[in-house]
């Protein structure tokens, strides 16, 4: 997604299940910058918030999604994107 206006641009981040419980928030927004242009970079930024964040985001079975699609860590993140972090899904 490309920003059409002037001013701060953001990415939205959501957390679910035990990842949400570990970081103690359902979601947040970050001002997007080139320093947050991949999922791995967003994880690195968030992991600086504390041990509970770094532990949750380094969970071996962590799944990440960008704009509702499951992606690898090297997936690009752009202004306006929605990221999500969660454990393996148990629907049905």
């Amino acid at each position: 997604m490309v920003s059409q206006g002037i001013g701060p641009t953001v990415i939205t981040i959501k957390f679910f299940s035990l990842i949400r419980e570990a970081v103690e928030v359902e979601g947040l927004s970050l001002e997007w910058s080139p320093d947050l242009s991949s999922v791995a970079m967003v994880k690195a930024e968030l992991s600086q918030r504390g041990a509970n964040w770094s532990d949750a985001l380094s969970h071996p079975n962590l799944i990440q999604a960008v704009n509702h699609k499951v992606v690898f860590e090297d997936n690009a993140v752009a202004d306006g994107d929605e990221l999500a972090f969660f454990p393996p899904m148990t629907g049905g």
Partner: protein, 154 residues
């Protein structure tokens, strides 16, 4: 063709009736999954289902499109609940309509086997004062893996 992700209770009889009236077909298969009274825990009082509804709709729609492509469905529908559910309540309902039963059965099974690990829902079992997140079952991963090789490998 239709995905519904809802906190509301669902009426399986009504869902089936509406489906077959809207999509009259020679072969209709449907499956309902209900809350069981045991699971990772020895006894379960109720189930809490967390959802990422926007992504769930996107993922379930993609699975329905894939099922249609593989089995030539006339129609399909997936209804998945979230929120707090009591033992015995339906969690999920899948219906498929085709010319022949083999395609309807296979598509229904494909949808169930893939949505369990590809649709963003997370179960939490409650028993008395205790609760815990349900872990992914190896058998569910194995059943999903059967479909990954293409349309004829299940």
């Amino acid at each position: 063709m239709t995905v519904l992700v809802t906190k509301d209770s669902i009426d399986l009889g009504n869902l089936y009736q509406v489906f077959v009236e809207r999509y009259p077909s020679a072969a209709v298969a449907n499956f309902a999954g209900h809350v069981r009274d045991h699971g990772d825990r020895e006894s379960v009082d109720c189930l809490e289902l967390e959802a990422y509804p926007e992504m769930a709709i996107s993922q379930l729609t993609a699975l329905g499109v894939e099922a249609t492509s593989r089995y030539g469905l006339h129609a399909w529908q997936v209804v998945h609940r979230y929120g707090e559910l009591s033992v015995g309540e339906p969690i999920v309902w899948v219906a498929t309509a085709a010319d022949h039963r083999a395609d309807a059965f296979a598509a229904c099974e494909f949808l169930m086997d893939t949505l369990k690990t590809d649709a963003p829902f997370w179960k939490r079992e409650h028993s008395g004062q205790e609760s815990s997140w349900v872990k992914v079952q190896t058998r569910d991963l194995e059943r999903k893996a059967r479909w990954l090789g293409g349309s004829d490998t299940a």
